[in-house]
């Protein structure tokens, strides 16, 4: 069955199911209520599917009107944390996994367990990945339904560049200091013969500035394989000066300054961090969320790969997000109806899997997503990577401040202005007092 035919068939089944089937037979609200639904922004395919789903929900529940508000992810928290603190939060709010703990601890969200227990069959909780639910568990409660989940690590490679270099495609048995580094060296080239390197083994998103911070290199995907860690488990002490962390950082920074297999900082900035998309790097940080973004580069032939192993094992950071009902909601019952409906197998499959944009928090929807046309051949690897996935190290109240401080120092090191040891020492000196203050608060 072709992808388009499959999409039409699956969509048709879902629409008929939701219009005439069990999902529509939920408790009808008695009065007309308006739900404020705060979400982040997505690519066009998701937004279109999402709007369709919300409209279909409002047809099925004519007494509920869902008003969507959208704010870009990097500034989402600053708007809605303030609203929640002021007692004016929306009914339903999107929450990214690293922030969930703070929202739950602050008491901004309602526990969904009573709703789930009311009708366990409809909630269909067994289909969710436990790792995704884990982000929203707090002191015996469950404060959100997860929407997506995925690994973020060295998970993609350029098939054409590997073939041109006569390299075998990455295997699960690869190690960072072995085959990965060797391949990176062979992929690094001066393709136009002007004396300057213009193709690298590793690059793009390598030190991406997510929400303004150069954070990746301090994440579990980069430090854990070497036994390193950015902070201890209780988030009270920075561990970057430990030998294992230094070994990890030296390896990654060494790719730029020692082995010259990753683009210099200035080049990365000049190319707006699109080194991989432009076909200029062999391997890069990958995650299932960028599948639809990479589809915008039709000449790019890429595939998913397992994260190589380090001396301490194989790791990848697992991230995700979900939707929660705030304590400020005047209509939590109706908000639950919407949430359950949207996060159902059909909802997640229709909005996320069929738009090709997301690795869904439900296993059933995830498998549908893997069949989408622009999803790479080995997309199943992302699902397998969850087995060696680990949650972010930093999820406490000082996360943003620590990342901001570390990012400034990391930037200097990336530019070659400080050594790894200097950088780690400076970060520790600045971060420890922040962690100490946060622990006191």
């Amino acid at each position: 069955m072709s992808s388009i035919t499959r999409k039409i068939v699956v969509s048709g089944l879902i629409v008929s199911l939701v219009l005439f089937g069990s999902l529509g037979s939920g408790v009808q609200a008695q009065e007309k209520v308006v739900l404020r639904y705060a979400d982040t922004t997505y690519g066009k395919p998701i937004m279109t599917q999402q709007t369709n789903w919300i409209e279909s929900f409002m047809i099925r529940y004519p007494n509920i009107e869902v008003r969507a508000e959208r704010v870009e992810g990097s500034v989402f928290n600053e708007k809605y944390v303030i609203q929640a603190a002021a007692g004016a939060g929306p009914d339903i709010v999107w929450i990214c996994a690293p922030s969930a703990k703070q929202w739950m601890k602050a008491g901004f969200l309602i526990d969904l367990v009573p709703y789930i227990e009311e009708n366990e069959a409809l909630a269909d909780m067994d289909d969710f990945f436990e790792a995704a639910l884990g982000f929203f568990r707090y002191e015996g409660g469950l404060y959100g339904l997860p929407m997506d989940l995925g690994p973020e690590g060295i998970h993609k490679y350029n098939v054409d560049l590997f073939d041109e270099a006569g390299l075998e495609h990455p295997k699960k048995s690869w190690t960072f200091e072995g085959e990965f580094l060797e391949a990176a060296k062979r992929l690094t080239k001066d393709t136009d013969g002007d004396g300057e390197t213009d193709q690298w083994g590793m690059g793009g998103s390598f030190y991406e500035f997510y929400a303004g911070y150069a954070t990746y290199m301090l994440g579990p995907s980069f430090l854990f394989p070497f036994g390193g860690k950015v902070v201890n488990d209780s988030e009270t002490e920075c561990l970057l000066t430990e030998p294992e962390s230094l070994r990890a950082l030296n390896f990654w920074i060494g790719l730029i300054h020692e082995h010259h297999v990753a683009p210099p900082y200035e080049v990365m900035k000049a190319m707006d961090d699109k080194v991989f998309q432009l076909g200029k790097s062999g391997m890069a940080v990958g995650y299932p969320w960028d599948v639809d973004l990479l589809a915008e580069f039709p000449d790019l032939h890429w595939d998913a790969m397992h994260a190589p192993k380090g001396p301490a094992g194989r790791f990848t950071e697992v991230l995700g997000s979900g939707y929660c009902i705030t304590q400020d909601s005047k209509h939590p019952d109706e908000a639950w109806l919407f949430l359950r409906d949207y996060m159902s197998r059909e909802g997640l499959t229709y909005v996320w899997a069929l738009s090709g944009s997301g690795c869904c928090a439900r296993e059933s929807a995830w498998k549908e997503w893997e069949k989408e046309v622009h999803v790479p051949e080995s997309a199943y690897i992302y699902r397998e990577a969850l087995d060696y996935g680990t949650v972010p190290t930093l999820m406490g109240p000082a996360t943003d401040e620590v990342l901001a401080v570390a990012s400034e120092e990391l930037e200097l090191c990336l530019m070659g202005k400080t050594s790894v040891e200097e950088m780690a020492g400076r970060i520790k000196a600045k971060v420890d007092p922040i962690l100490e203050r946060a622990a006191e608060e």
Binding site: V81, I82, Q102, F209, M271, E401, E408
Partner: protein, 308 residues
């Protein structure tokens, strides 16, 4: 006796007129005063109260006295931010006042099509700070950016504008070249208000262009220069969009200025109380600077009305 009566009559007349003018003045500013107390005054004074607590948004506030203010003075970034802010304010005020005055003098010439030039000079001012910053992100882009290209064509190594500690702040200051329009218009209006007789008198005395500029133009523009300097100073202390979009305060905090640090603490780290304390210190600094400017102005600003 008659003279005295006339004086009293005149005083009464003036006093009535003044009263009328005062009433008009208060009526004119009434909407602003109402707006201020309704929408701004409350939040502003609330920040003073919040600054005396430990409120982090994620937990209830507790009274913490002056701890946020004492923390400010032990925060190494506070001093860095303070120096950066002064650097930006100093650089921007000097640039904006000087360049807009020079532009106004050029645009004050009687040349065919001068109106077109006046419009062209003013036009960039209608672009918001965010849009302008987005444009400059591209202009300053290393290696492939237009500025880098220009430098490569003239054989001069291009500065790494936004990723070099030494160049990041000058880059933020230099982009203000684009928004000299409003100041230029004010200077232009003031230039056109200078009596021609003063220049004629200067010419009769044999004054050349530069002498006329320094002894006629500048003194006659002094009150407007003061106004523009004060407004530009206050504006510069509030700079946010440019460093937020272009540099995010980096590299190595070299462009972390007051408003950006307040924003970071309040809305990124959720240290709301600390951000409020910083905001009050910044307010006091701005007030001190403005006060000093007014005090010093007595020595160099000329007000025709006061002289009369």
């Amino acid at each position: 006796m008659k003279e005295k009566e006339i004086k009293i009559f005149k005083q009464r007349k003036i006093s009535k007129l003044r009263k009328k003018e005062e009433i008009s003045f208060y009526l004119f500013i009434l909407p602003w005063i109402i707006g201020f107390f309704l929408f701004s005054g409350g939040p502003i004074f609330a920040t003073l109260g919040i600054s005396l607590t430990d409120w982090s948004l994620f937990a209830s506030p507790h009274w913490s006295g002056l701890s946020n203010y004492t923390r400010l003075f032990t925060d190494p970034l506070f001093y860095k931010v303070f120096v950066n802010t002064l650097y930006y304010v100093g650089g921007r005020v000097a640039l904006m006042v000087t360049i807009s005055l020079l532009a106004a003098i050029l645009l004050n010439q009687k040349l065919p099509g001068i109106t077109v030039f006046r419009v062209i000079y003013y036009l960039p001012a209608v672009i918001t700070g965010v849009a302008l910053s987005t444009i400059f992100v591209q202009l300053y882009r290393p290696i492939y950016g237009p500025f880098a290209y220009f430098f490569s064509k003239v054989g001069v190594p291009a500065p790494s504008w936004l990723i070099d500690e030494k160049w990041a702040m000058p880059a933020l200051i230099l982009m203000n070249f684009w928004i000299i329009g409003p100041n230029t218009v004010i200077f232009l209006a003031a230039l056109q208000g200078i009596p021609k007789t003063l220049y004629e008198a200067g010419q009769i005395d044999g004054a050349n262009f530069l002498q006329q500029f320094f002894h006629v133009t500048l003194p006659m523009l002094s009150s407007i220069t003061l106004l523009i300097t004060v407004i530009t100073t206050v504006e510069s202390f509030q700079v946010f969009a440019e460093p937020y979009i272009l540099t995010r305060g980096g590299p190595n905090y070299s462009t972390l200025v007051g408003a950006l640090y307040i924003y970071r603490n309040a809305f990124k780290y959720f240290n709301l109380a600390y951000a409020c304390a910083f905001a009050w210190i910044l307010l006091l600094i701005v007030m001190a600077f403005t006060g000093v400017q007014f005090l010093l102005s007595g020595h160099w600003a000329y007000y025709a009305a006061r002289r009369e």
